[in-house]
Symmetry: C2
Subunit: 260 residues, 2 copies
């Protein structure tokens, strides 16, 4: 226990505990309290043997722990002088309300440390064996959430106009509509893929095009949480014809391996 | 030594060895040969005690090890049955020619494993203590390289039209021009920051706006390698007025800490 407490916003990565950073493992080892999000692999608690572990998930807005309560909880434990680790899936600084939690902690005068991690879209690309930004195809990648606070849609035509790879988070509930919209702005032949539970032991993936991927993913039974990848750079995965349009489990039968 | 060799494309993260993943550390520990890019912290060799370490950097195109030579080198060692680890800065699947190297290894029939890591823009955001995608401000983030193969420019107006956070890699040599172009499409008051050597012991950062950041960064002596961050979400850092427009070293005097 420290003389003065603090909060660590810790990135848990995509699921596989081996994808935690060394820094994250050290922070967990010294934690007094661990607050776990819903989508985080709960086995992470094994890395925090001294800690009281509290689940504070709020998936898709239902049966949730209110955000304000989570923020109060962090502050209460930190004010007791405890080392509080707030665990978020992927990288804590991409989606997931880190901005609001940082602001609340700052207002309360509580020191915050941030530990980065691997975001799911990177793990999804690794599973497919593709670069997110193959320079034959694009100059960058866009990470966008399809789940907006006001239930509106991202500006898909503006995103398409950049000609960059799209890594779409939280888009499975509207995959058919968003692929149709993107197909109008790009082409229905544009390569696309869906990777569910990317970077975890349960990883499943399918590949296709903007015209076919929604049906392929649905038929294969893929749902949230998943990353939808769109763009010519993703076509490098399609050229691995052995798993085109087929569902593969983590690392199986692929020329590109993910696990040792 | 394995009966059949393989190549691991390994993400070294932004510099701090503690930001390597556990999986990366394990891969290095068993490596026979390590091929190191220029911008990778060379202390990483200490994690690969059995390995022959070869530097194959090619910074900005000059005095470079030709790409074709690097690809042949990987293949030659893998064919000898060796465990070859190709180390790239940040995440191997964002910029840095992983796409070309994967394609070449596939053509050669050599098994490839990919190990993800932390890309510099995430470390830059951590240093500033901001989310890349604070939902009060944006729906996502764009990772774009300013260094294009044909020496052209990215389509800055199209990127600005998405209203997303921009994380610009390799843009320091043209920071004045690109900020001026972006200021026309957005506003010269749009928050901006530059973080040099993000996520390493040498990290330095300045904050400002599209109208001021080029001069501030130049005056502070910041150059490559650095990430330029632009967007309203970055304004959350500016509200930490204590370091506005000032150069800070890694974690010093900030209410948000990065290191334990």
């Amino acid at each position: 226990m420290n003389a003065t407490g603090k909060v660590t916003l810790l990135s848990a990565g995509p699921g596989d505990l081996d994808l935690l950073t060394l820094k994250a493992a050290k922070a967990l080892a010294r934690a007094d309290v661990v607050l776990l999000d819903d989508l985080v692999n709960s086995e992470i608690a094994s890395l925090a043997p001294q800690a009281r572990v509290i689940k504070v998930g709020k998936r898709g807005g239902c049966r949730s722990t209110p955000q304000a309560f989570i923020e109060r909880l962090m502050q209460r434990y930190a004010r007791k002088g405890l080392d509080v680790v707030r665990v978020k899936g992927g990288d804590a600084l991409l989606f997931g309300r880190a901005g609001e939690e940082l602001a609340a902690l700052r207002r309360a005068g509580i020191p915050v440390e941030i530990v980065n991690g691997v975001s799911s879209a990177f793990a999804a690309a690794a599973g497919l064996g593709v670069s997110l930004t193959h320079r034959d195809h694009c100059q960058g990648v866009i990470f966008v959430t399809a789940h907006l606070r006001d239930h509106s849609e991202p500006d898909w035509p503006a995103l398409a106009a950049t000609r960059m790879t799209l890594a779409i988070y939280m888009g499975m509930s509207r995959i058919e509509g968003l692929c149709a919209t993107l197909a109008q702005a790009l082409s229905s032949e544009t390569p696309a893929a869906v990777v569910q539970w990317a970077g975890s032991a349960n990883e499943r993936r399918v590949t296709g095009t903007l015209g076919t991927i929604a049906a392929i993913a649905t038929q294969a039974g893929l749902g949230s949480p998943a990353i939808i990848l769109v763009g010519d750079a993703i076509g490098e995965a399609l050229s691995l014809a052995t798993f085109d349009a087929a569902v593969e489990t983590h690392g199986a039968a692929l020329p590109v391996l993910r696990s040792a």
